[in-house]
Symmetry: C2
Subunit: 386 residues, 2 copies
């Protein structure tokens, strides 16, 4: 673990030197965990050269770096002085994780310093996973595969989508799901995943997930809405792969009885789109091209109008995954990103078929030296519920 | 619902006029729900006089105010112009909810305006609940009471704390728990509540909750940690009361067999502290005094060193509750708040007894004209598990 963290600190210091920053102060939960392997209430400070320091307001203390107890961030400059560290002239702070109030408080404390953004460089570092991180994702993926195989046992005739989801959630927890499902961005609220049955799959939601669903209450409008599961209905299960801190992301489609031909054809098209991506994805492949190719294939199949939704169509087909379910890169029309070895991403071509529900597929991939490896390898056909 | 919202908008306009703001732009999920009764991806704009407008990036559209579709916030000033609304000279933005990047983007868009904070005024409005909001909290409390009565049925000999918690979570969902548990502040992560058994109750956590617990994984260090439930152990259940958007908060203590006298005495002391608060709490009572009285009672009982924790002791005994579990006011030594009719708060005197676990109580109260009403009225004695 120490080597793992040393490597991350070194990469962050390289990013700091490139942007002319001589200090980086991190305070958000996920970035603290990324950089220390633990979670504490306080700050991680990395100078552009030398060792990091942790300033801890509240236990438990991290054991990986030198640790100092503080009551409030106003004590930080004096601590740097005491430790013989120079006051930063250019200080990186997390503009996309800290609230305005928190960020400005730190700016005032380090009033002699220019501030630069830490969120973007950290997001870019987090894109490329270490071997240990990939191992954690493999563990999550393994549990998620086990869950997908258990879902038919959760089904009983006459159930609603939420009844089924509750049974699935229960088995997730028994399999070791950590519960809390991490997303990047306070606005992206999701409980343990999304289960979409029938026409609810076409209901738009305010959140930037691939599909929506009306949800159980106007305060959390996402996913299952109480739809009774009926013959000929597709049930798409996109539940959290949060069995370690590193997530996997995987969607499979279940069906009550047999689905009509249009839905089966749309599902086959999704598998074709996935196969095309798998053939094209390798270091250097552009995320925007992989998106465009998916959209073109949906268009050729005459299914463009129900690709990634109907009343509202998401403008992405994949996204990075790691400590958060929505990391960089994103597979959008305008993405500037190209794949790099060590990236992990979810690819999720999905269609919403009126009167039936959502079909399609989602898997998590690791970018290797010459292609991609599927971490969530499991049956991709529609599984019948009976 | 329309009257309810009209009333809220009017109160917000009064707060705006007091602070000299002529526009308020709200973008965070919880404040959007508070002000519109729905959730959308976009902005709620309230001028200091007249009707609000919703600017919606992503469906569903709210139905309660005039609605306009936008792609990005840069279109807002032109929309105001088109609608015949003056550009704000002092614009309130949510400094404690928006990230620095989001806040600064809006500041740049409205570069002619001074910015003022919307978070604090909205937090003060949200402290005082409307009759409809209180009704929603009563519904949540009713379900939470049902859950507390079901907990003994979840227990089986040989279980761990997490086994028991999973059974409880399953019943919560069956009772209608909405799942996602709302807290204010990105750093305050909690799944469906906290179950603390034995000495794990004394383990400090990084989060600002009343008690900690080691949790199942270093990335989410809170609550149950896999402790096997054994004879003479206290099990404190502080699970989410999220059966509507408005939360109730309630803790009860269960025991495997009989607890030793020190723990039973600490529990009685917590009930006495609660009774003292109930006798003193009314409009005008100071939250700091109610905190000090609780601490003094713990001290008289010789239990100060295990009040609100042991290795780390929380410096509050209660907190407002509503759309978030941690609202204003907070019962701390330095609080400046006094109770007002219509406030709802949780009061939670708790002790951690070495070798036994956590005992104590938590209930949710409504401040009435001349006292408080307990919304979570149910047996407060320690319930035996067998």
């Amino acid at each position: 673990m120490t080597n793992e963290l040393n490597e991350k600190w070194l990469r962050l210091q390289q990013a700091m030197q490139q942007s002319g920053a001589d200090g980086c102060l991190v305070a958000s939960n996920r970035n603290l965990y990324y950089l220390t392997g633990t979670l504490f209430n306080g700050y991680f400070y990395l100078p552009s050269e030398g060792r990091p320091h942790c300033f801890v307001k509240r236990p438990p203390m991290p054991v990986v770096a030198e640790c100092h107890t503080i009551r409030k961030p106003e004590q930080l400059p004096e601590w740097l002085f005491r430790l013989g560290l120079p006051q930063p002239r250019v200080l990186m702070l997390e503009s996309a994780q800290l609230t305005y109030a928190e960020f400005v408080r730190l700016q005032r404390i380090f009033h002699g310093a220019q501030t630069a953004d830490a969120s973007q460089p950290l997001s870019r570092l987090r894109m490329i996973k270490t071997p240990w991180e990939i191992g954690q994702m493999r563990l999550s993926a393994q549990r998620q595969i086990e869950l997908c195989a258990l879902i038919p046992q959760c089904y009983r005739k006459g159930m609603t989508d939420i009844d089924l989801q509750i049974e699935i959630e229960y088995r997730m927890r028994k399999l070791g799901s950590l519960g809390y499902f991490h997303t990047c961005g306070a606005d992206l609220e999701i409980f343990m995943g999304s289960l979409l049955a029938g026409d609810n799959a076409g209901t738009p939601a305010p959140y930037d997930f691939a599909l929506g669903g009306g949800g159980l209450h106007p305060s959390v409008p996402l996913g299952a809405n109480g739809t009774r599961l009926e013959e000929g209905m597709a049930v798409m299960a996109d539940m959290a792969g949060n069995y370690t801190a590193y997530l996997s992301d995987m969607t499979r489609v279940y069906a009550v009885g047999k689905l009509p031909e249009k839905a089966r054809r749309a599902h086959r098209t999704a598998l074709e789109i996935e196969a095309r991506m798998e053939a094209a994805a390798r270091p250097g492949a552009a995320c925007a091209d992989l998106y465009a190719d998916a959209l073109a294939a949906a268009r050729r199949a005459g299914l463009e109008d129900c690709f990634m939704g109907t009343r509202f169509q998401s403008k992405f087909t994949g996204h990075g995954v790691g400590l958060d379910i929505n990391e960089a890169p994103v597979f959008t029309p305008r993405s500037q990103e190209v794949l790099q070895a060590g990236m992990t991403f979810a690819f999720e071509p999905k269609f919403v078929v009126a009167g039936v529900g959502a079909v399609g597929i989602e898997n998590t991939y690791l970018v290797t030296e010459n292609g991609v490896e599927k971490l969530t390898e499991w049956n991709e056909e529609i599984v019948e519920l009976r």
